[in-house]
């Protein structure tokens, strides 16, 4: 039944997004299943009807991969889901991923006109709905264009690499995607937990879709070690895209960081997500956790670590962050979910030392209270230690989630690449590096950022690479 005029009028006036049902916090901390269930068709249609179909749709400007948002929402409102997903996929190769992990509140939804007086349209939830609808039904592969005969190598199968690979394949180029790990997805696989992005049900199927576009995937190849970028050219690749990510964990450099029981967030999450340590001993990789866990940092990776620790059986999980709640870089929904699940937030607090017992296992952490001063170069208020406010709290596991730098393997082994801060690769707006034929995008260029920004960079670079390949 189509909605009648009165229903439409009411929905257009509705101030709040339609809520998305999710697992009860008390239950979900005992499992790794996905937290939100997603909209059903009826709710999706209703939520889509909240969209005012602006002529000059500002939401699109907030989307790094330029999805025609009003168009796909209109198709949902008209219950034309098959056409909707096609529209979405014209621009976005990974909609089921984006619908789940994008910080929509800072992107498309931040620009939504409805958000000025009420809640914006739930663009992310609608995107997820269409993507899940298609996964459920069976993913359609668009017809392959005629081959251009040009060969392209993509380094890294994370969000930037997958996007560039998919786009270049759709342009008719022969694409080979290299991945260092035994499984594809990069941070989507090793970093983002199962309860936020299911691996088999969602990620693997998005990767399968990219492969179905004609992309050849080669895992277990560490570019920079197994083969260098220069050798890729020798082997006949005519252009290379580097999307090797920010895989170098930062530590604070405080005493005690090498004690047993201190993990980088990368290790903690990789063991759990990629290696499935939560299924030990059915899976071989273990992880070891005390009853009380402290996670240092307040970005998405920190929230993921804290919520993972709860699910691994920790009794008490603390976020320790040196600034206040306003500066926390995590997505709003992640912070909300972490709070609902019982994660304790110790804000304006900074660790200064980690203590160990006689066997070298973590038993406590000394912290100092902080206050906020003037904004620093990042634009955020600078945290200043309050002298004499040091205190010790008992903790058995510490996860350091204060950020990642670009992995230096490729910058160090590729000749003639101009590098920037902390081994980032310098590129122009479209991803072209200082070396002809080499393009880069994602965290390797920007330093650790978001999935969608990496995808946006992959998309831009794919266009620039296509133009470059046509000149050869």
């Amino acid at each position: 039944m189509p909605l009648d005029k009165e229903q439409v009028r009411q929905l257009r006036r509705m101030k709040e997004k339609h809520p998305m049902p999710e697992q009860d916090p008390k239950e979900r901390i005992k499992n790794f299943d996905e937290v939100p269930f997603g909209y059903d068709a009826e709710t999706a249609v209703k939520e889509a009807t909240r969209c005012l179909q602006c002529k000059k749709a500002e939401c699109v400007e907030g989307c790094p991969v330029e999805v025609d948002i009003p168009a796909f929402i209109k198709l949902i409102a008209e219950k034309k889901f098959d056409e909707g997903i096609k529209k979405l996929k014209e621009k976005n190769n990974l909609p089921a991923v984006c619908g789940r992990v994008c910080p929509q509140e800072a992107q498309c939804e931040a620009f939504c006109i409805r958000g000025k007086r009420a809640e914006p349209v739930a663009i992310g939830r609608l995107e997820r709905f269409l993507a899940d609808y298609e996964l459920e039904k069976g993913v359609e592969t668009p017809p392959r264009p005629k081959s251009t005969g040009k060969r392209v190598a993509i380094v890294g199968s994370g969000p930037a690499g997958l996007t560039a690979a998919g786009d270049l394949a759709r342009m008719g180029h022969e694409v080979v995607l290299f991945e260092a790990f035994h499984a594809t997805g990069g941070v989507l696989r090793y970093g983002i937990p199962e309860f936020r992005l299911p691996k088999e049900k969602v990620l693997q199927r998005e990767v399968d879709y990219i492969a179905s576009l004609g992309v050849e995937i080669r895992t277990n190849v560490v570019v920079g070690k197994t083969i260098t970028v220069d050798e890729l050219f020798e082997e006949g690749f005519q252009a290379v895209f580097i999307g090797s990510g920010a895989g170098l964990p930062q530590f604070q450099g405080i005493p005690g960081e090498n004690l047993n029981g201190v993990y980088s967030a990368n290790e903690f999450l990789t063991r759990t997500n990629l290696m499935k340590a939560y299924l030990f001993p059915d899976w071989d990789t273990p992880i070891k956790l005390g009853k009380k866990v402290a996670v240092v940092g307040a970005g998405n990776v920190a929230m993921d670590s804290a919520r993972t620790a709860l699910r691994l059986g920790a009794e008490e999980v603390h976020i320790v962050y040196r600034r206040s709640d306003k500066e926390m870089p995590a997505r709003a929904e992640e912070i909300e979910h972490a709070k609902e699940e019982g994660v304790i937030f110790n804000l304006l607090t900074n660790p200064v030392k980690i203590f160990g017992d006689d066997d070298g296992w973590v038993k406590g952490m000394e912290c100092i209270k902080m206050e906020l001063g003037e904004p620093d170069e990042s634009g955020r208020a600078r945290p200043i230690p309050i002298e004499g406010s040091e205190y010790v709290f008992d903790v058995e596991t510490v996860v350091i989630a204060i950020g990642n730098s670009p992995n230096p393997l490729i910058p160090q082994t590729t000749s003639g690449l101009e590098l920037g801060w902390k081994n980032t690769i310098k590129t122009d707006e479209e991803g072209a590096t200082s070396r002809k034929g080499i393009f880069a995008g994602g965290d390797i260029v920007t330093g650790a950022a978001t999935v969608i920004l990496a995808m946006g960079a992959g998309k831009k670079a794919a266009r620039a690479m296509d133009r470059y390949l046509q000149t050869l």
Partner: protein, 283 residues
Amino acid sequence: MFKIVTKKVLSEVNKLMEVEAPLVARKAEPGQFIILRVHENGERIPLTIADSDKEKGTITIIYQEVGKTTKELGTLEAGDHLCDFVGPLGKAMELPSASGRVVAVGGGVGIAPVYPKVKALHNAGMEVISIIGAQTADLLILEDEMRAVSKELHVCTDDGTKGHHGFVTDVLKNILEEKGKEIDEIVAVGPLPMMQAVSNLTKSYDVKTLVSLNPIMVDGTGMCGCCRVTVGGETKFSCVDGPVFDAHQVDFEELTRRSHTYLEEEKIALENFEQERISGGGN
């Protein structure tokens, strides 16, 4: 999938496998390692490259069956396949200058990673004195291979069943006493207590000593920091900064402690595995 081309049983617990991995073989250099997984649910374990053949496109690994994964690996035969095999990882060992005199020390399965280094030195025209040791004669590996590339080979066993009755450090001490000044460099690979003992000994003679570390790893590309080790007061990642380090700078106590992180879990995994084997597997 990576095919096991040959398998040799070197001793009751030490096995050799030659694995088809042409891309890895093309690049492999002494000192580097690979990471493998036996099956889909398997863990990633690092193993030093014992030999490589660019023409055949193969990498040789030698391992000691200690835990679940190595025991499971031991059940595979030539013709079987490994699920994953990636490398070469880590830095290649820098060869000492051609004029230098080198003593190479290998303990237990550590003789395997020492061998390609001695072979490389031998091929570069250098004379190497080698000391190899094991708990007992039956566990001694690569004796003939080591002899073929060494100027002198000393054999030790803890129980005296072959060669010198005692530790490799006893023999090393004698050599240092005799010709300490002529020796420019020592390369030692073996169990952590052995490498620490060698390091302590050579420190007092002030002879440069390199060790190859084998800490717990996950990715092997510098991404997780699991393999961090304090070297000269700084945290290094063994997988990308090593695995070869100046022994006198390595914090062996920390390294030993960190290597014990999962003792309990390793025991559980092994017990489950043995039980399954007894009951004929769950398949």
